[in-house]
């Protein structure tokens, strides 16, 4: 193998299911996503010589066990552990590996089979800080923490529930065009305002539906696909001593757009990590999409109207959060759009996209954030 350019040549997803079928396992779901992405790329399993994987439920097995069980013989292997930021982290490593000639076809996979009690166990044992200081309260999971963050954000920006509502409502409208989304029925403002509260200010529609599923992308040196114009990341920007916004993306924004050679106004769609509506807004603002700082206007004029296509799969809020798969879901959707394969939800002439990742709530909010600018090649 020799060094060369790297392209994302395939993207795929397993079925997303609220209640996984009997016999569904994390490894089977990862295999399904791999098959879907290889099919999209027009490649066979035996072409794969590099593997990256992120999963909350693979343990005690690791990436090498997965390689063995998928029948993959490889020259490059990694496992990532950064939750919602893993997708872009794996992408960054895969692109550099192909550029350097360390591998020629890399499959990056992420996903989980998650039953409800497995999910509860996951959030209560997430890391030592959670086990020691949050689980005993009992804290109720990240919904509680992001309810507190939303309170601060709402106060600082003068926003109310009827404003944040535009994020899940618009994403639900996009989900109508995604056959794999868990929820596709239109949502009205009334539906949102009357929904049961989970942790005020957050209601049911502010919280992602947990699904079992997996996502995959294929990075290769040859073929047709999507080019990564720029990718930047931020890990532990503020020692968990801030408010949770801005995220580390604010400090990355200038170098991201400079390297990409374009700006927020130039992207045709954005797939923004949407664990919560507030975080969609925060990340878009951090990356310069709200030049005048008027979030309410941005919400109504750009998001609610769908003038700016954001999370065109419905995002996690409508399609579902497939555990670690969520970190790749936005990338898969962006690649699908840029390849012109998004069917009913296709954004016309989609040529460039922004994708973000965010995750790893260490104590109060996510410590990892990354972003990539993609271009159809």
């Amino acid at each position: 193998m020799s060094p060369g350019a790297a392209l994302i040549v395939g993207a795929g997803e397993s079925r997303y299911q609220r209640h996984p079928q009997r016999g569904a396992t994390t490894k089977r779901l990862l295999a399904d996503a791999l098959a879907s992405a290889l099919d999209d790329a027009g490649l066979s399993r035996d072409a794969v010589d590099g593997l990256a994987v992120t999963s909350f439920t693979l343990g005690p097995d690791t990436a090498i066990d997965l390689a063995w069980e998928l029948g993959l013989s490889l020259n490059w292997l990694m496992q990532d552990t950064n939750g919602g930021a893993s997708g872009l982290n794996m992408l960054q490593h895969a692109v550099r590996a192909v550029e350097a000639g360390d591998a020629s076809v890399i499959a990056a996979l992420a996903g989980d089979r998650l039953l409800v009690d497995e999910f509860d166990e996951l959030i209560y044992t997430y890391n030592r800080a959670t086990r020691a200081h949050l689980a005993p309260l009992p804290y109720g999971g990240p919904n509680t923490l992001f309810a507190l963050l939303t309170h601060h954000h709402a106060e600082q920006h003068g926003l109310g529930r009827e404003d944040y509502a535009l994020v899940p409502i618009s994403q639900r409208a996009w989900a109508a065009g995604n056959p794999n989304a868990a929820y596709r029925e239109p949502m009205t403002l009334e539906d949102y305002l009357e929904a049961p509260m989970v942790a005020p200010l957050l209601c049911r529609y502010d919280c992602v539906p947990v699904v079992s599923g997996a996502d995959a992308v294929i990075v290769a040196a040859e073929g047709r696909g999507v080019r990564v114009r720029a990718l930047k990341a931020s890990y532990n920007p503020d020692q968990q001593e801030g408010t949770g916004f801005p995220t580390g993306l604010a400090a990355c924004a200038d170098s991201l757009w400079n390297e990409a050679g374009l700006g927020p106004a130039d992207v045709d769609l954005a797939c923004v990590y949407d664990d919560y509506p507030v975080m969609v807004l925060v990340q878009l603002a951090d990356l310069g999409f709200v030049a005048d700082g008027d979030l309410r206007r941005f919400l109504h004029e750009q998001i609610g109207s769908r003038r700016l296509p954001v999370n065109t799969s419905g995002g996690q809020l409508s399609a579902g959060q497939a555990g670690a798969g969520a970190g790749l879901h936005g990338l898969v959707e962006a690649v699908t759009q840029l390849k012109g394969r998004a069917g009913e939800r296709q954004v016309d002439d989609a040529r460039t996209a922004l994708v973000t990742g965010y995750g790893m709530v260490l104590y109060r909010y996510g410590a990892c954030a990354n972003a990539a600018v993609l271009e159809a090649a």
Partner: protein, 104 residues
């Protein structure tokens, strides 16, 4: 509630206070810490969680974000009700931090 306080960790070299504890001080890099008891803080935000414990009963827990007087912001269970800005006392209960409005 007896305001026994909670333990935060203060860097012996530069005085920076943290919670939860760290290995190296984020400010100066020192690995030497001393424990400090802090008894009070200010409520920054609150919310509620509810968990179904049996068929017809929901356990509601009020969760608060508190800026301790020593500086670090902690997550606590709130006893009683209070608005952001209220002064609270702090204690440890069964491994978790609890906060109560001052004067309760």
């Amino acid at each position: 509630m007896n305001a026994e306080g909670i333990t935060v960790h203060v860097c012996s070299a530069c005085g920076h206070a943290v919670f939860p504890g760290r290995v190296l001080c984020p400010r100066c890099g020192s690995a030497d810490w001393r424990d400090e008891l802090v008894r009070r803080g200010t409520l920054l935000a609150t919310t509620q969680t509810r968990k179904r414990v049996i068929v017809h009963r929901l356990l509601e827990t009020r969760i608060a974000e508190v800026r301790t007087d020593a500086g670090p912001v902690v997550i606590a269970r709130l006893l009683g009700e209070a608005d952001p800005g209220t002064a609270v006392t702090l204690a440890n209960r069964a491994g978790g931090i609890v906060a109560e409005p001052l004067g309760s």
